[in-house]
Subunit: 340 residues, 6 copies
């Protein structure tokens, strides 16, 4: 098997802790040849730390010198669009961090270019690789849930506004809790329904707690620079009458520190995802089913492998460019509904 | 104090177990003079059981012979409208079971006639009298919650389709889980927000489990005669950007037998209603506050008393004719959204 | 449907509290015409209490005057044999309390005579009617357990030697904890395996605590009159290599007051009976399955109905004469092993 | 004190992690002079790791060059017999891993030769050194249990078939769950009874789950090479009427992942071993007694020390050659009963 | 056995619910001949209810007409002294409610007169008859505690100021929480130490919450008429250096509604009384010992029986006149310390 | 900011693990220039380990060569007095380990000299820096507790007599559990009350368990050298009628291994300190308030910083010389009461 030659764009935590280690473990399939960061010193240090040959401070040089097959993008949300377009133009496969982009149109353009170029564009929604989601998929395939018609999806923090980074910067992130957290559970909910496009989207966003300032599990934050929503809620209704209730928060006066879950309701069975419980009939009686041996897996490793499978034309459950576009358009419609 | 003269219309369980006992305990304020049921034998038996003088099998006779000051209506939902209109025409105060009616227009007409006649029309949403709701109101008044901007309200049964009565009859009930259960928590959620009218209503209804037939905590039901929704979900968005997520079910593949609750999120604090927990800052630190001495109260007795207070012009927190019309219009908009 | 005419022999607690109420509830199928007890006064009182016409102090008179179709025997164990034989000779169907008899040969003779007479002889092992056992049977039928190859069955009391009655009288009862308690769970274990006859039986009995005297949950007992085993353990091995581990105790230095359970191990799944948990694969993963809606049933009523079904030639899961003989022979082999 | 000169035969995990560290900690009493493994490279590496002078790939050379006083045998079960016999012939004390051998006769021969040679032969049943067993012994000595008459002993894994090593190889291991796990709790049960020889042994073995293949807590296993029992059950009856119920499993459809315990029933008290609870009378009342300060101990270190004590003629609770022979004969009788 | 003739003085709840039922159950030993209450109607009604012949509204008439052997006094605390003295003067045995009196001197005079008259005077501290106290006594006798050197005794209510009766009336009750609740646990603590007289008494009383008014588990109370302590704490030091820490409250900002307990610390063992746990060495290891079969007993019945035993000269553990005097003197010293 | 020059006296664990690391983290404010220990080798090793320049074996040389601004004293209790006096004479600020001294007079003299010299003398009661105590202080300031009138303070170990060090040496430590553990919670209790001087002190000390010898969580101890109290109890009464109940133990037959807590009772609210729970009224109802985000802090670091603040004349909550004298005088009065 010829190894793919990969480059990383973005030199932050997510490159260092997630993507580079995953790619390193998959060295039979992929060779990591370059790191690119605005800051050359940072790029060089990261490359040295992981034994990568090249370090660049601009992508032009990267493409010129390295001609990678694959590009992994882990920069702020507002850069996903231009960097993905550039990579596709260079005929690279692209593995882009979530969310796809900061507007629906951008994500749609990205999908179109990938299709035109015949390249893989995929997004890093790693929760698809949890044991729980694998099992959910298996339950669906085995007909244990019947028709799924409603999903409650939420990703809530009580006091979890990051006091560092650019999470509260509207221009760079495109939004707050919905953009950063909500998209994870929205992606799963859409998967369970077959990734349909909703005919109705209604939503609201809030920023009371963010604007008031305070401290929490992720340090204290500055109300002056808090430009995004601290919480968002939405309702999606689909042509087949199925629906999703979505909530996401950086901060909310709720009772748990962090609550990330999906409840999936079907005609034959229902599932609560974390921890996984299945409600369906067994031997003619309503049963509650738990799975004691579900184990934690390295979801980044599995998602990177899924991306590489897609690059080689193998079956893969990685989030596709088309799915990313659908999701990002929904996110935009939520923000529009909230603003109307 | 002159005692009001009251008549009960409807001879079923709710008359026998809820309204007549409550009125009896309030005998200093009210005298129960007549019972009216389609079935004269039933009416007579009920009257005898509770020591009530008159028993009728039609309302015409009732008004002719008794001229009550107050009429309490505990008949199927589709009769609320005609019987309330008739009672108001006879210049009676009316205490009507929930839901107000089977259409928004009916409820609006009822409110208009009550206003025109200068009579009290009120609806029996007794959860307003729980200790938890009283305390919630007090917390709001004391500013512990700040601005309330989102409420999750649900009234879910896992397998609780009544196998008896006319709960699954569309013509008589006007709907299923939303009409029977959802209205209770919707009423509370609207109270917390000041009973505004939403500018957006989006919802869906489902009937997979009802149509499949089965058994549950309330006996087994016949899929042939199951004409209503077994579950409904909705999202309400208000002009001030606050919102309500509502779910109600007779049957749902969820994990608890019965789950009725509201989560109320405000800028300064949040509350989970059952059991009551308040999340707000105390001494500069985020605190979880429980109230060990909240006691169960006789909510029917207190709600009947609140209705009588309204009749006498005293302050009262009973559900008004206007509120009932707003609520019923919302319910109708949910059904319309689901059908569209 | 012609009603069967039934007589009760034995005027103790189990007649008064279990059998007569069950028969009374089944009055469409059976008419209870007589009670017979050694003590005429007791018989008369019991008959009067339950509105039964005849009361006798000897069975001869009973048969002479009443010619019952059905006889229910609730006397001490040592009387089961003679009274059953007499009833069968009078061509009655017999519903006899457990254990079948105090020797294997007796139970075998009883089965033979029933067969010869073409009458139903059945034993009152009511645990077969618990919701748990019904579900176990359903799980077996649905293939969820595969081949069952080992069962642990126990019925243990920590300090539960009855201080009243004749439970510790060897001549009347034929034995102690095994005869009174162990037979219940042994019957279920044998059912699960198809009621085979073991090729090996090994067991032991003990009486240390009984002989020492003491007090417990069922009063204090007299060591002088303690003639039976306070505990018994046994191992049964069957021709197909399946096996049963059995333990029963009136008194044992163990950690729970009362512990009655079966653990059933099969090639595809296993079950712990109380409370019911099923361990088997679902969606390719090992699962623990609980059934939240199992409800307590009136097991005496259901077992009496099952007996009557058998009398009418309908399918029935009541313990048959043949099964009773197999069980009693096993019990005898355990005592023999213990004594050898 | 002259130090004993010791050699280790077997270069696997149990030598590396258990025996060598224990001997190293006891360096005042014993000097570890050689390691012997079929694989010279492995032997040398292990010797170097632990600072041991000699490394051999055959025992002949070992005895020729080193003349050890003590030999520790940690090879597959089928080698215990020939290597122990050889070591005894060289007048060594022998500390052999459990089980003693793969046949009762072998273990008997080993005991006989040890006796003839006047050397210590002991087996490494380390559970005898747990705090719980020390306390059990003390309770027995203090008379808190009275006469022990029944013991339930089990060592069960739900899905714990090792996917590595030779645990499922019949020729090398001599058996499966009974040989590997069951012997541990059987040894303790026999200790509590004074290591008597049973007059009756009845048992069965099973391999449904092993033969089906699958995965579990110890990886996935190959049904093709699964030659041993995945579960065994047995009943032992002793001349004084005491008895043991024994169960062991690598795989069983039960509810806990791993369940290793003994319940010991005596005339005055009973004990559940893990965690230790004593049931006996205190101040005239039945009491449940827990011991909050029992601490985990280094059971290998204590057992090795106990072996060395035995070598020096001091009191020791290590498993003797005679006990090992009794145990192995019982194991063989269980397999014979299962096969008959 | 000649039956003693008894009269009850006081017609309140404690006569009706506690003393008369207990005496009625002991009718083989005692005949209840008269009831006396200030209110003749009440006395007559109570007598009729319980089938007692005489009813009086003054004690003079009672003694004149009935000449009782035994008098049971259940009046407000301030009447204990005059009524006991009068009864003793009439040569009656006296069973007086707790506390003995409202001053130490009164209790001392009562003891002296009882001694002079050779009559039994006993106080109704029924907690002495709980199973827990019986077991504590047995543990002491068996030497399981060694020398007891410190006791923490408390009887705390969080919000339990009675809104009815005369519990907050200083003149009638002599005090508040200490007088009503604290004496119960103080009596037990003194028993455990052998009822010594302390050489040091230090204490304080409080009334913040009582004086503020409020509501609680026993209704709402009037701060205007609240004249007693709502809480008291004290430390008693005895000549042998043992000590008691005592606390009692009607109202306290603590975390449990009602907390009544004793912790008893001895040289060999310690006990927490409710629920009973014993901490001592077993088999050489520190053990926590629980007693699963302790059962609730009818403590009033047993205490009345103990009083009657005392009257007949039998051994009895009822609180004696001398003990009552010691206790009351301690209570008085606590109040003096608090006031100093 | 000029850095203060500091020296440590005492080379034990508390210097190595607590004070030197804290001072090192505060290196912007303070420079650690010397360590002094009786044992020069130990002093040198400690200095080298932490990169400190000077190491002395006598304080004379220390003062001569280094002239420190600040001295931190972590020697046995009996040396606190002479070493503090010497340091003050050299015009140093002194941060002294708890307890202040082994007599009240010593602590008073130390406070007087510090005042005369105008130097800061402070004691290292670090529990003042826990998040719980910070929050308690805030609750007091916010008026949530009202007037505090009673405090239960205890620091109990069940079997925690140190088997090493000089904790049981009377001459060096001045006492046992009270001196070592009790002072911590006594200091907090006094803080909550405003550090008043009690008008009554009553107490007792015990040594039954210590004198008996044994083992526990801190090893085994020698009864021969056990010279101090293993437990102490005391009651303090203050002029304003508030009171403290204090208990401390190295060993006590109680139910928890280690139990350190304060319960603080006020007119408006109460607090249990570990974990922190506040009981007070919220929205007119009695509430239980918990604080989910209280986090563990580095209490030594914060207390050292508080001492340095005091040295620089800033506000500080470190224990002052005057408070230390009041506390030590109380301790002495407890010992005197126990001995009288």
């Amino acid at each position: 098997m010829t190894r793919l030659r990969a480059a990383i764009i973005g030199g932050g935590n997510i490159a260092d802790k997630n993507h580079i280690p995953a790619l390193s473990q998959l060295s039979e399939q992929v060779e990591l040849v370059a790191v690119c960061s605005r800051d050359q010193t940072k790029a060089r240090a990261l490359a040295d730390k992981h034994g990568i040959e090249h370090a660049f401070d601009n992508t032009g040089e990267l493409y010129r010198q390295c001609s990678p097959d694959v590009v992994v993008i882990c920069t702020p949300n507002n850069l996903h669009y231009p960097q993905t377009m550039e990579a596709l133009e260079h005929n690279c496969h692209v593995f882009c961090e979530k969310p796809p982009a900061i507007s629906g149109q951008n994500a749609r353009d990205m999908a179109n270019l990938a299709a035109a170029k015949g390249r893989v564009l995929a997004y890093n929604f790693q929760l698809r690789q949890t044991s729980e989601w694998t099992l959910l998929t298996r339950c669906q395939e085995d007909g244990l849930l019947g028709d799924i018609y409603h999903i409650k999806a939420h990703f809530l923090r009580r006091r979890g506004i990051p006091g560092w980074g650019y999470f509260t910067n509207k221009a760079m992130q495109g939004g707050g809790a919905l953009m950063d957290l909500g998209v994870h559970v929205l992606d799963l909910a859409l998967c369970a329904l077959g990734y349909p496009t909703p005919d109705q989207v209604s939503g609201n966003t809030y920023d009371f707690i963010g604007k008031a300032g305070g401290k929490g599990l992720m340090g204290s934050w500055d109300p002056q620079t808090f430009e995004v929503e601290d919480a968002a809620t939405a309702y999606l209704s689909f042509p087949n009458k199925s629906s999703i209730m979505l909530s996401a928060s950086f901060a909310l006066n709720t009772q748990t520190d962090k609550d990330r879950n999906l409840e999936i309701f079907g005609s034959k069975g229902g599932v609560k995802l974390f921890p996984f419980v299945l409600h369906t009939e067994v031997a003619g009686e309503l049963a509650d089913i738990q799975f004691p041996y579900l184990e934690e897996t390295d979801i980044q490793l599995k998602n990177t492998a899924a991306f590489l499978d897609a690059c080689r034309g193998k079956p893969s459950n990685v989030c596709t460019a088309e799915q990313g576009a659908i999701l990002q358009e929904i996110v935009e419609r939520i923000y529009q509904s909230a603003a109307s």
